[in-house]
Symmetry: C2
Amino acid sequence: MSFPFHIANTDGAARTCVLVTPRGDIRTPAFMPVGTAGTVKALTVDQVAETGADILLGNTYHLMLRPTAERVKRLGGLHRFMRWDKPILTDSGGFQVMSLDAISKVTEEAVTFKSHLDGSRHVLSPERSMQIQADLLGSDIVMQLDQCVSWPAEESAARAAMELSIRWGARSKAAFGTRDAQALFGIQQGSTYEHLRRESSERLQETGFDGYALGGLAVGEGHAAMCEVLDYAPAMLPPDRPRYLMGVGKPIDLVEAVARGVDMFDCVLPTRSGRHGQAWTWAGALNLKNARFAEDDAPLDATIPCPASRDYSKAYLHHLVRADEILGQVLLSWHNLAFFQALMSAMRAAIAEGRFEAFRKDFHAGLAR
Amino acid sequence: MSFPFHIANTDGAARTCVLVTPRGDIRTPAFMPVGTAGTVKALTVDQVAETGADILLGNTYHLMLRPTAERVKRLGGLHRFMRWDKPILTDSGGFQVMSLDAISKVTEEAVTFKSHLDGSRHVLSPERSMQIQADLLGSDIVMQLDQCVSWPAEESAARAAMELSIRWGARSKAAFGTRDAQALFGIQQGSTYEHLRRESSERLQETGFDGYALGGLAVGEGHAAMCEVLDYAPAMLPPDRPRYLMGVGKPIDLVEAVARGVDMFDCVLPTRSGRHGQAWTWAGALNLKNARFAEDDAPLDATIPCPASRDYSKAYLHHLVRADEILGQVLLSWHNLAFFQALMSAMRAAIAEGRFEAFRKDFHAGLAR
């Protein structure tokens, strides 16, 4: 039984919806902070929850290697282990095996790879990925195992990966079975080839999933090429189920993808930028290390109800970044997550009020200022 | 006018008191977390406040070099800069100039040193230290400039440093002048020589300070030798003013110093240990990296009302430390500060109830278990 998905409002292709899960509602458009190794880097789960996140993403690849999925299971599952009681989506592990590990071997059966931690050999099949995500980690939203090609890709390579992903999707679904409290998402592939994306979507729907992701984007093609794919790819997916654009992205990517009908996102950008002294704002990204902030007594954004955004001066953040203090990484990661949630909240409100195009125009004008 | 200092209870040499400052009461025995460069490392001030700390320590040496005391002043003073509205004690900068910087030159007039950041030359005199602490940073409790010798010290060197400290103390007081809302503490020196400690105390009291520190300890002499000095040195200082043991220490040092009449402490230990995977408990220090914690589902201390102590399993902390996650440093620093405050609170209660000796015995038994 799929989680209920209520479409509250549409405005052009953009829409605001609620995905109802046993662990809580996910308001879309939704941004999922990434908790790679059982932690959203540098932040407590309470700080993450305060930003308004309805759901986190966990990485199967990292968790299966350390502390291992079996250990997480023995410790009560991923929610209890990391103290997050709202929904968690886990990726399949496939993308990271292929992007982080050069010596992986892909066969029809499975991906074989060596751990970046100790060189030990591991096998990830659709069945094993389902076991790790659904049974051991206890994820609320499970992703099928897929194969993603890098960009640019020859059509033949893109087709082969898309077709393998379809077969792995069917095996993922068979292994996942029928569950009341967990959902399984399929992943559309096809690189930047419209006819491959169409074929992928049609065959995924023959298998039938609780939600559908757009895979194989944000892999180097750039904003414009990604938008070209998003001009057609989301509409190929069933409108009555959530559409999730994996690994995206910058605020401008989020706004343009929402305009094209995407509902869910995840990205390490806010926390990674925060660890490197960058703050995301309505005016774009600021480098707090810059001397122009040395005596700037204003906060990053007084309108965001997050202590990191509202209460600390840019001068103080500048000092922390210059002095390489951990608190600088903490506060900027926290602010960035709060800003991303404020952006999603503003988009949801604009769609609900039928003024998304005006919002989008204002957003671009803010960046250009 | 000195801050009021109310002695609530005594139990042997131990005592529990309240130092009343315009920014809030300091309950003694008090442990002051160290906010070296305008931040208690890895923690927000709200997290620090939650542990029950009544006062923080700031380091003049670090702040005068970066962001500079003048910049802190332009940004509204240290309290506003770092968002801590309770009392702050600042050290004089002298100890760190001498311990961190090999090429400093000490004359009757001042210490000259080179910045560890950019090699620039700086001069720290008693008058300049008062200006930085009292006028620019806006500290609540200001420390006189002193000279501290390393251990072991020849008697002639210990005497020379003690006598210079007395003269610098008098100049510090003259420069500090009379202030309603700020206090100035003198510093007893004399290494491990009882007659020098006595002479230092007598001459300090001729100058007259709002409180008195025990300097020149925790510089390598070890717990037993420190306790020998504490057998006589605190009693040389006026009982009606707070006694502050600088740079101390481990929990066992705090208990033994309180037993000998010390009221205030500061140390980087809890936060430094926390950044290195160590947790302080009633059973001593635990190394969370140790494999025996890998599946230990219990929290560090369920009785301490701090999320880091109470809510996260040792297995999770073990995972974070092994994975070198910032959150591990955050949570262990936070727990350690909460444990140190729980220890001070337990000592205050034991003294108030006239059972400090029993507490002390239990504390030692807990370490031996």
